[in-house]
Amino acid sequence: MPGEQGAARSFVAWVRTRGAALLIFVALFVVWEVAVRVTGIKEYLLPPPSTIWTEFWKRHDTVALGAWVTTQEILAGYALAVVVSVPLALAVAYSRFMEEAVYPVIVFLQIIPKIAIAPLFIIWFGFGFTPKLLLVFLLSFFPIVVSSIAGFKSADADIMDFARTTGASGWTLFRKIRLPQALPHIFTGLKVGAALAATAAVVAEFVASDRGLGYLLLQYNGQLDTPMVFATIVILSLIGLVVYYAVEVVERLAIPWHVSQQATAKDATL
């Protein structure tokens, strides 16, 4: 239900449900800080949160630069995956030939551990931006294409029978029924793909790189600069989180009916 009152109520509900989790996070950091100081554990093994913060702040411009590089790889690879996989899913869902010829290939390729291909990309495309983009693309691509195909094929038989009694054209049916019906599935794939994109970028940078957060991570690790390793991981997680939530925001805007439907279903089961 839209409306300001609804928005206010949902914010209160959000605080109520997330407040506890937030509190536990804060408590965790406090325990961590105190435990490290009390036990006198070595900083290169487990630095306290305060040290991580001060070390990060000293070198935040280096990290920011690396974060920017990695973010670019994530966004470009993910965008490419979306642009390729949704039309491909459409083709597979609506063309008998594409379904018989291409779909089995997609299913087979999906089984290959994509990360194992990363070294091959270095041989083919060198150390620059391209192999990172391709690995992000490859990891995000499969969940999006598979769930989009499922979405486009999910049309309810009775709904389609009803639609046939209206004499609607194929394009009208697609626009008014098949596409909206597919969107929840597509967004499920988009979210899984978004979560994998950050992983893919870091792995690609691990394999061969001279910039980006994955590269920095290996550098700090080699220098036993554990506080900076922690800081880099935190930044990486934040990037992944932002990308994921960006997709979720788009989902809320695109299919508010589905999101609130899920919320109702959840309320009903609680």
Partner: protein, 285 residues
Amino acid sequence: MTAPSVATAATRIVAATDASPPYVALTGVTKVYRRAGREETRALDRVDLTIREGEFLAIVGPSGCGKSTLLRLVAGLHLASTGEVRVDGRVVDRPQTNLGIVFQSPVLLDWRTALANVLVQVELRGLDPAAYRDRARRLLTQVGLADFGDRYPHELSGGMRKRVAIARALIHDAPLLLMDEPFGALDALTREQIRLDLEALWLATRKTVLFITHSIDEAVLLADRVVVMSPRPGRIERILDVGLPRPRGLDARRAPEFTRATEAITEIFLARGVLHGAARPIGQE
């Protein structure tokens, strides 16, 4: 135009009471489903049936008697294996559009409000939804959903969703209304209320209605004539004139016509083994 020459018991009864012209006519209709690697199933066997213009006709029968198949043949969603289906004089050889249809599940679109779900009917037909907005609101009011036009399906109860589906089948004012076990999933009280509302709606519009149900009471309470079907293969056993005066309120169940019709139908089902008498112990075949 459609008078079947085969003089089955069914057609003779129809002919005897027929006054207005037939709107739907099935002549010698058989429907066989063939699936690869399986025995073919004969869903309907040589069915002759006419529905007069403005008539409320109910088909009652157990599951598997082909009553839903019959409805789909009239809608042109399936085509007859042999025989002929005509609607308004024209042979049905493709999905028909000059009708409204209600299925057992309401099949609403989750992303549309109740009002928009009613209007999707006209949108899919390429008509201007703005021109039908007032009519859609009136229909929602008539089915008791005046205040629920902006609700989404998941915010409505099962009975309300069904009412939206009925409004959607009426919005474009088609002369024929097909209802395939529309009240199947509803609780008894909701069923009773929606039955009364449907009759009021029908009395106001006088559309030709084909109503499929497995409830004997429902068929008798709603219809002008009740077609009794038996399964395997789906066949018309008898066609009964109900003869209950309208409107049939809650006390229609106490009328002698109601008792007579329901007993007659029950007897047919007993004779056909669709129902077993109480004396027969459970488990004895």
